[in-house]
């Protein structure tokens, strides 16, 4: 199957850019075996087929609206706060106050900026942060997700350091 990272020189380098042109070869989602589940023994034949009834919906307009409403509900930001405990690593200074309540819907990036402010460090100063002395989360991971996954004793431990420790 093509992987898109081939060496080139195969004539693909001069495509016409036209909105009406289709894409020639697609090995996208449609053409692969499905994971077989317990009790499902219909052979996969690589062609279009109707999903098992568990996935089909019946009342179209009403259910679309209900679904949109559901999405709106899930998009609402959680106003609750969770407890974050900052722990210094190595030579990093220990703060007077280590436990803070952080809004659950904040991204981890906001926690890093908050910590930087509390420490009085500037944007260019090296600051490395970890969860449970183990890994660095992506800056756009939310505090609520990290809390639900990794909290211990009711708080989320965020370690901070001036040098890369577990990077």
């Amino acid at each position: 199957m093509s992987d898109g990272l081939g060496e080139g020189g195969d004539g693909r380098r001069r495509p016409r850019c036209s909105r009406s042109s289709g894409v020639a070869v697609l090995s996208g989602p449609g053409k692969r075996a499905s994971p077989k589940a317990a009790g499902a023994n219909t052979p996969h034949d690589g062609q279009a087929r109707v999903l098992p009834s568990a996935w089909t919906s019946l009342d179209t307009a009403g259910s679309m609206q209900e679904a949109q409403d559901a999405l709106e509900t899930y998009r609402k930001k959680d106003p609750n706060k969770v407890v974050v405990r900052f722990k210094a690593v190595g030579n990093a200074p220990i703060m007077k106050q280590n436990f803070y309540k952080i809004t659950a819907s904040n991204r981890f990036q906001a926690v890093i900026q908050f910590l930087r402010k509390e420490l009085g460090w500037k944007a260019g100063d090296p600051l490395f942060t970890y969860i449970n002395l183990a890994f660095s989360p992506a800056p756009d991971d939310t505090v609520t997700n990290l809390f639900k996954s990794f909290a211990t004793d009711g708080h989320l431990i965020v370690n901070y350091s001036t040098t890369a420790a577990w990077g």
Partner: protein, 347 residues
């Protein structure tokens, strides 16, 4: 890579053929991309009729890794020598055609599925057509405040390794399996992605990714559709003389899973492989727990779930998904879309 574990060896290091099959299918999945340079940024004297580049990109790869191939095309076909001299690919960044900044630390497959679902919802169009994802490539002034991290391949690698460690911690409550790898092995994971080499990646990944175990019998395991494999973890088999598979997919503390809703948010929580009542944690139960408004228990669902672009069946087991269809960074990405009508698109 198809070996069945003899009973006395730890089965974490042997992979059933079915697991390998799905890992290879996931690895070889690709999505169509259309990459177009922002017209305002094309250097003067560029050949403007040809600034679009079509490619099939691996689902498990990342946008910054596509830059060399795109750059070769643009250098050959679009830019003249003067322009070529001032190209700084570390300043390149991507937007969707609707103008939203693309997260380069998301795998390409995730970007594609999430975008397809979101766009079809906004345009109220059918999502059963496979169309190229249109990307706008900018050559300068990356919005570093919104990007949060610089889009260099080094930063991409760091983010990737971070996600692998986070997944490791989700599974076991520690990262010692990842940190126990030698540096060369850790680098080998990223090299496998860069070179798109299945064997190079999985040679190392198999050490840290749990597998599903074959059933305890001397004959080859039954196909995954057999009920016996899915309703009783091997350790529950009273006749088994093998040790329970402590490193197996059903022994993890939590499967690393994230849910992506159209236009956000991203949800993450603990996903035990077996529930408190002893039943196996299936996708249906998982979705009913976390998105009960879209998957109301006992009623027809309003939505569906894509994993690696495939409509995952409701009775797929979370532990199995974690072993067989994670992204290269270790995470099972569940993209939720809204069902449109009773006739559903291609499986």
């Amino acid at each position: 890579m198809s070996t069945y574990a003899p009973r006395h060896t730890p089965s974490a290091f042997s992979t059933p053929a079915s697991t390998t099959l799905f890992r290879r299918l996931t690895w070889e999945g690709t999505v169509p991309l259309e990459v177009r340079v922002d017209a305002k940024e094309l250097p003067a004297n560029s050949d403007r009729g040809l600034e679009c580049y079509y490619m099939q990109a691996p689902r498990v790869s990342y946008l910054p890794l596509l830059v060399p191939e795109i750059k070769r095309f643009l250098m050959d076909v679009v830019f003249d020598e003067a322009a070529a001299r001032v190209i700084k690919e570390e300043d390149w960044w991507f937007e969707s055609e609707e103008g939203s900044l693309l997260k380069w630390h998301w795998s390409i497959g995730l970007i594609y599925d999430n975008h397809t679902i979101t766009a079809s919802l906004r345009n109220n169009s059918s999502s059963s057509q496979i169309t190229p994802l249109r990307l706008v490539l900018h050559l300068a002034s990356p919005p570093t405040d919104k990007l949060l991290l610089s889009p260099s391949t080094d930063a991409c690698k760091q983010a990737f390794m971070g996600q692998l460690k986070e997944a490791d911690f989700m599974r076991w409550g520690s990262t010692k399996r990842m940190t126990g790898l030698r540096k060369a092995e850790q680098d080998g994971l990223w090299e496998g992605i860069k070179e798109h080499n299945f064997d190079e990646y999985w040679r190392v990944a198999a050490k840290v990714t749990p597998t599903t175990t074959p059933t305890r019998s001397t004959s080859p395991p039954p196909p995954p559709s057999s009920a016996s494999m899915h309703t009783r973890p091997p350790s529950a088999d009273p006749g088994s003389t093998a040790a329970p598979d402590r490193d197996g997919a059903y022994s993890v503390r939590s499967v690393p899973v994230r849910i992506y809703l159209p236009d956000g948010p991203v949800l993450q929580d603990l996903v035990p492989p077996v529930l408190e009542d002893g039943t196996v944690h299936t996708l249906a139960k998982f979705l009913a727990t976390h998105l009960p408004l879209l998957f109301p228990p006992g009623k027809p669902p309003l939505a569906y779930a894509l994993v690696q672009g495939v409509h995952a069946p409701p009775d797929a087991e979370m532990a199995w998904l974690g072993a067989c269809m994670p992204s290269a960074d270790g995470w099972v990405n569940v993209c939720v879309g809204i069902l449109r009508d009773a006739r559903v698109g291609r499986f």
